[in-house]
Amino acid sequence: MAGKSKSILRILTVVSIAATLCVYAVMGVSGYTLAASLAESLMGLMGAPGEELLEMTIDPAGGVTLTLTFTGKNSGLMEVSATSNLELLSVDGEVIAEGSDSKRIPPGSSGELVVSLYVSPEDAAMFETSPPVIRLRFECRTLLDLVGLAISLEIGEEAPPLGP
């Protein structure tokens, strides 16, 4: 094979191997970061007492403020964008109140996520007869938010199906 074509092939082979290795390294590091962060944050969430997680305050007019506080942890190798979303749904799936909080957490550290939502006195009165469904969604994204892992938990009877 001629010298020029040999060198072109050599360059192409090196580029191909380097690109493949880079892609698999990026996949491995981001996959590990997402899995480790989500698992550790959820373990913290499950381990915390209920009253520390969800705080409920009732104002004189009868309106209810729900505040969810929990710590998102990043035990991975890349920066993570942690988002917590809390929804209060009626039995027929209508969103009554919604709130979310997002934090960028550097590797090896943690960030507190606080989500507050207000329920009007009318809705709060309605919940006494038909209890609401609480939907908590926690999402971790990394690699410039290009890849992500999320978990959605539903607490309450007859949870309506997830939206798109």
Binding site: M1, A2, S5, I8, L9, L12, T13, V15, S16, A19, T20, V23, V26, M27, E139, R141, L143, L146, V147, G148, L149, A150, I151, S152, L153, E154, I155, A159, L162
Partner: protein
Amino acid sequence: MRKIIKAVLSAVLYIIILVVIPNVGLQFLSQSIPAKMLPYIEEMIPLHGIVMSISVIGVVLAILSFSSNMVEDWSPIKLLSSIASAFVSFYLLLLWFGLGDPSRMGVTQLSVEMATIILDFRFFIILELLLLGISILSALIKFYFARKEHLVSR
């Protein structure tokens, strides 16, 4: 002789990585996980189906690798098996990220009672598409130069 050894070794490597290791791993997993848990895991991720698909892909890749290594660089068989191998590898990744369903294209949703887990790995699919392009381009250029040299030497 050297060519045959190289072809056999590359095929055996695919068989070990994609057929032997996943099947042994699945056996090990079946024995180490409590029997009660297995139906729940199978409900979320069809482990047996995934391992079976990976094994079939492993055999296909082994055949393609063997045929590719047995022929000369200028042979169209080499070009075709290299391109087919790149596509099969891409399919394997789609299968892997779709947890057994390649049509999910990197977005997988797993539901277990009151929890839903969503995996969004679409960017990895784009990266893998890029690698697929590089592999095909590399095979084409390699074939072009080898063919050119073969024609000149004749």
